[in-house]
């Protein structure tokens, strides 16, 4: 080996960056959080940005501006955020000098989202921050307000000129879920966003996509040569996707009662994960290449006609019951829930993809609250062996098919169920699991989803964010279901807290000769 060639210091690349942990450096920027006095800011956003700073993944030329209605000084905001970091991050103590250095980049602007004057003030403060902190006119606007204010905030950002990059800088906007309440409102919001921002400036966050195991789906499918050849209708019998929570509405009854599980989980999180299972190999890992394949897959989902919703979808609402030995109230007894609410807290769906790869393969999805445990997983059920060679030795027991399970949470990992001979003089078969657990192979804790997603946005990588067409497609698929349900009353509550949903959910799959996995 010889000494390296003369430097490329004259080029645009920083020659010192090569081989350093993050080879693409985050550019200077200011993150403006709308709804800065809210829960998300203190629980997730500021702790994530603090950690990214301490991990040296953000530059010194960085600032956070909180924007909300409550009057507050910079110092009050800084004190609140210090409490937040101590409470909600793994930093149980913070060195004074280290905190002061971080806090010097925290600012607060009090203002009403509806008031143009507030944006003039925000602009002034941003310009001052650019000068003082060197944030170079680069901005991320994070909409973490009530969704009802998104539209106004976007229009005001446009009208004030804040949406447009200044000079060499860039401007991006992160929009928290829910993205619309139905297809029409989602389209309208997208339209309003498009009038102010170009699509490459827009980052629609779905924190599920920031989870390590969800990201691993792409690696698992396309970095391993053995799975792709069998990842299709010839070898796969059906797919089950379970997204279960043991918690109830947890004080969010007011919001949840206007949403339900279809809006809250299925049309966004569940469909995002589903698209990663169903998509074709992307041509590269660029943001648009991956998202092109995701939307292509979702466009192949067969629409469920309103009049046939009952054949393909089951809704449920939890009644009282027991979770982990504790009695819990039914949905209708939750605070801020209407007494006669028809809102679904559980849904099970059977979907088909009308494309070459998946024709005829049912995808069973279920998502619900107050299930016996929290679990999100994808189970790929393979077709049985073509010839039942071992029929005589499995007398009295079912010849199980192979199942590949991708566990997203908790205990992230991948399991393959295979048949094996029980040791002994006679041939008997037992079904055993071959396990790969993240926790047992990589003991490190994965970064918080918000850390990954915020850093990606600052780096300008939107791969793990939802694109306009995907959000609208999600709504398109669920609208016939929501419409059908709006015209019919369900007999609810119809499942006990602590159970796996109403009996109709079991019937949905059992009438096809299959059953839900026992979890």
């Amino acid at each position: 080996m010889t000494r390296p060639q003369p430097p490329n210091a004259q080029s645009d690349d920083n020659p010192l960056r090569e081989g350093v942990r993050l080879e693409k450096a985050a550019e200077p920027c200011a993150v403006v959080i709308f709804g800065a006095s809210g829960d998300l800011t203190k629980r997730k956003l500021v702790p994530a940005l603090y950690r990214l700073t301490q991990e040296r993944l953000l530059p010194a030329e960085f600032a956070i501006l909180g924007f909300a209605r409550s009057p507050m000084s910079d110092d009050e905001f800084r004190n609140r955020m210090k409490d937040a970091v101590l409470t909600f991050s793994d930093a149980h103590e913070v060195d004074d000098a280290v905190w002061e250095s971080f806090a010097n980049g925290l600012f607060y602007v009090a203002g009403d989202v509806n008031e143009p004057a507030a944006y003039s003030k925000l602009k002034e403060v941003l310009q001052r921050v650019d000068r003082e902190r060197g944030t170079s006119g680069n901005r991320v606007f994070y909409l973490s307000t009530s969704p009802a204010l998104y539209s106004e905030a976007i229009q005001q950002l446009g009208a004030s000129g804040l949406a447009q990059p200044e000079g060499q800088g860039w401007t991006r906007v992160i929009i928290e879920k829910p993205f619309g309440h139905d297809l029409q409102s989602a389209k309208q919001l997208n339209e309003e966003v498009a009038q102010v921002f170009s699509e490459d400036q827009v980052y629609r966050i779905d924190h599920y996509l920031g989870k390590e195991t969800v990201q691993n789906l792409l690696v698992f499918r396309f970095a391993n040569g053995i799975f792709e050849p069998i990842w299709n209708r010839r070898y796969i019998d059906h797919v089950q996707l379970t997204n279960a929570e043991s918690i109830g509405v947890e004080g969010r009854g007011g919001y949840y009662d206007t949403a339900g599980v279809i809006r809250d989980m299925i049309q966004n999180h569940v469909f995002q994960v589903l698209s990663l299972v169903a998509l074709e190999p992307p041509v590269n890992l660029g943001a648009n290449a991956v998202r092109d394949e995701k939307i292509k897959a979702m466009q192949a989902v067969r629409m469920i006609p309103s009049e046939h919703v009952d054949e393909f979808v089951v809704r449920g609402q939890y009644g009282p019951g027991f979770i982990e030995g504790k009695r819990v109230p039914g949905y209708l007894e939750e605070r801020d829930v209407k007494a006669n609410s028809q809102t679904e807290t559980f849904a099970a769906l059977k979907l088909f993809f009308d494309n070459w790869r998946w024709a005829g393969v049912p995808f069973y999805l279920r998502s619900g609250k107050r299930m016996p445990k929290r679990v999100t997983e994808i189970a790929i059920h393979f077709r049985p062996a073509p010839l039942p060679l071992f029929k005589t030795v499995t007398e009295g027991q079912t010849m199980e098919p192979n199942v590949l399970v991708v566990r997203i949470q908790p205990d992230e990992g991948i399991t393959l169920r295979v048949g094996a001979k029980v040791p002994g003089q006679v041939t008997r078969i037992r079904w055993v699991n071959m396990d790969f657990r993240y926790g047992s192979s990589f003991g490190i804790s994965s970064p918080e989803a918000y850390e990954r997603l915020l850093l990606d946005c600052i780096l300008g990588d939107s791969t793990l964010y939802a694109r306009r067409d995907m959000t609208e497609r999600g709504w398109e698929i669920v609208m016939p279901i929501l419409e059908a349900w709006s015209h019919s009353k369900a007999e609810i509550p119809n499942y006990e807290s602590g159970s796996w949903g109403p009996k109709e959910a079991h019937e949905l799959i059992e009438r096809d000769g299959r059953r839900w996995r026992r979890l």
Binding site: Q5, R17, R21, S136, P410
Partner: protein
């Protein structure tokens, strides 16, 4: 880190009897799985060979292994050697280490085969190790001993079966001699097994912060205008070397990344200075011993000066108590950016864990070693 409980099931064999060790491993796992109600997960992501010589303090080794087992379960093949032993003996025993389960997770266990050898039996070790490797998993050799980089004996044989060798140049007994030997090895053997140096890994934070200055477009031109770099360090202990290897490696990194060619060396009461030529200009690299009381062989401060008009000075400085690291950027006479970040000395086991995620050659490191070795004096 997940809570770790070391659970040992020790059996011993007086000779290196590979089938006996394999039987013991099987028996060990049967015993472990029946001992625990929920069963255990036996996990291995790599083969980790550890060579410990009697010259090195290994009092902290068991604790380090427990940490490694929890974070990167592996089959550990640990070799304790005693070159000064009166008798020639070799023994082996088998141990499992288990991570205490949390929540719904299961107990994760990995295994360790320990070989104790002395005298001429030390030469038996490589032939005993090879059949105990788990096939198809990467093999890392953690060399916790004086590196015998030119040695075709046990070091050479173990390197041949390893995908990556992890050394710690902070433990070099004659740092400059060993650095030069490593550089020669790298220069002459481009197909050599990949080498990691934990001492280099300790520079990660410094390199990231220094690189960070020049990520800014407005500061980038100062990089090609660098005129003077001062690396302030504390003297290493137990050696006559006047410059800590960590400081030399950092200097080597700058020189190799920026294509500096060494011209001459000068030493004075204040330290050692090297003059480089870079694109027709002179760059002075000055190593100074710090007057602050910080732990030995550490970096204390790095200052990068550009003599362009306007001039610029960037610095990274460790606090005396090593809990903070401060950066400062002054361009055109006014201080523009100042930042204080938390800093901690990363334990050896954590540094090693990071190396266990790497397989390929670290060319940036290798070039830094070669450039650092050119600064011999």
């Amino acid at each position: 880190m997940a809570p770790v409980v070391e659970k040992r099931f020790v059996m011993s064999t007086a000779t290196i009897d590979i089938p006996a060790i394999e039987r013991q491993l099987t028996s060990l796992w049967r015993q472990a799985s029946t001992d625990v109600e929920s069963g255990v997960i036996r996990s291995s992501t790599s083969n980790l060979l550890v060579y410990l010589s009697e010259d090195y303090d290994s009092s902290d080794f068991e604790e380090a292994m427990t940490h490694i087992a929890a974070e990167r379960p592996c089959r550990a093949l640990v070799m304790y050697v005693d070159h000064n032993g009166v008798d020639s003996t070799i023994t082996a025993d088998v141990t499992s280490r288990c991570t205490l389960p949390t929540g719904s997770s299961k107990q994760v266990c990995c295994e360790q085969v320990t070989i104790n050898a002395s005298g001429s039996q030390i030469n038996e070790i490589p032939s005993a190790i090879a059949p105990l490797l788990i096939p198809d998993l990467p093999v890392y050799l953690w060399w916790r001993a004086e590196p015998r980089l030119r040695d075709r004996g046990i070091f050479g044989k173990l390197v041949e079966i390893a995908d990556r060798v992890v050394i710690d140049s902070a433990r070099f007994i004659d740092p400059m001699r060993d650095l030069v030997a490593e550089a020669e090895l790298l220069r002459d053997n481009p197909r050599l097994t990949a080498i990691s140096d934990l001492n280099w890994a300790r520079l990660n934070a410094w390199r990231a912060l220094i690189a960070g200055f020049y990520d800014l477009q407005e500061y980038r031109p100062f990089l090609s205008e660098l005129s003077r770099v001062v690396i302030e360090h504390s003297r290493p202990e137990g050696t006559d070397a006047p410059i800590s290897l960590r400081a030399l490696l950092l200097g080597g990194w700058l020189a190799s990344r920026l294509g500096w060619q060494i011209k001459h060396h000068e030493s004075s009461g204040t330290g050692h200075s090297f003059t480089f030529e870079s694109a027709g200009r002179e760059v002075l690299l000055h190593f100074v011993t710090t007057e602050r009381k910080i732990e030995p062989a550490r970096l204390a401060k790095v200052t990068l000066e550009s003599a362009a008009d306007p001039s610029a000075v960037f610095s990274v400085r460790r606090s005396t108590d090593s809990t903070r690291i401060e950066t400062m950027a002054t361009a055109g006479g006014s201080t523009r950016r100042q930042r204080v970040l938390g800093y901690e000395n990363i334990p050896e086991s954590a540094l090693l864990i990071r190396e266990l995620d790497l397989l390929g050659h670290d060319r940036v490191y290798e070039q830094a070693v070669i450039a650092a070795a050119e600064m011999k004096f």
